[in-house]
Amino acid sequence: MSVWKYLLIAFVTIIISAAFLVNIPRIAILEETARNLVFHVPMWFTMFACFAAGMVYSIKYLSTENPNDDLKAETASMIGVIFGICGLLTGMVWARFTWGAWWTFAEPKMNLSAIALLIYVAYFILRSAFDDEQLRARLSAVYNIFAASTVPFLLYVIPRQLPSLHPGADGNPAFSDMTAVELRVVFYPAIIAFFLLAYWIGNLRYRYRRIHAKLESQQLEF
């Protein structure tokens, strides 16, 4: 195992500790939950990065027809969904104690992020529908490009046009207007840390899937 993984573990440990230990200014309603910024927001950023990587590998697959690219695209999207689910669940807990409800259908960012995740769930259902590997890879690559291109609209463009309690929407200041410097110092490195963690987890899954594929092709030969 390479050194950067041990360094990453130390890095994430420092991030988690710092998120709890920095002194933050008290804001009514938010109180100590402002610390959630370090955990909740990077989940979404990591999801965006994973979906973007998935789209890049899908495009690459369509031009190279290399099955490894299809595998990379699938893995990136799967890790993206996992981080998206973490973002949704942490957001729900945060919403319950600051907005007063686990879920509200008046909140565009909540609903649209759930829809974005459902679009990706459909991607995995689509994949499971084919036995022919090449057909599966090609069609799911096309679908994945569509799925990834909906994400910026669902999570940035539309929520900004609608009234919302979520920061970064109409009627509510965005991150830059209200976040304390002390939290930013932890928040920016946290994004990098979670990106690297997602890369590591995705790398593990990709390697496992490749061994699995090799094993299957070997069994066919016997």
Binding site: M1, K5, I16, S17, F20, W200, L204, R207, I211, K214
Partner: protein, 78 residues
């Protein structure tokens, strides 16, 4: 419901003990680490819990990584 009922019956034993758990020393007389953990509205307890979860997950990731590496090695040798 039933579990709560059983628990409440079983817990009646605690009536024989003091209100305070006599086994644990008070915050003032405990060692410096325990005093530190008990300060700042117990935020350090939450930090400890989070770090335990993270360290177990990280340990598991390392193990899976090593297992996959050894499998990869076996495949290239063949």
């Amino acid at each position: 419901m039933i579990i709560a009922l059983i628990y409440s019956i079983a817990d009646s034993l605690s009536g024989a003990y003091e209100d305070r758990w006599s086994g644990a020393p008070g915050e003032e007389e405990s060692n410096i680490l325990m005093q530190y953990m008990s300060s700042n509205d117990l935020i350090f307890v939450v930090l400890a819990v989070s770090l335990i979860i993270w360290s177990v997950l990280a340990f598991y990731l390392i193990r899976v990584d090593k297992k996959i590496s050894s499998l990869e090695k076996q495949f290239t040798e063949k």
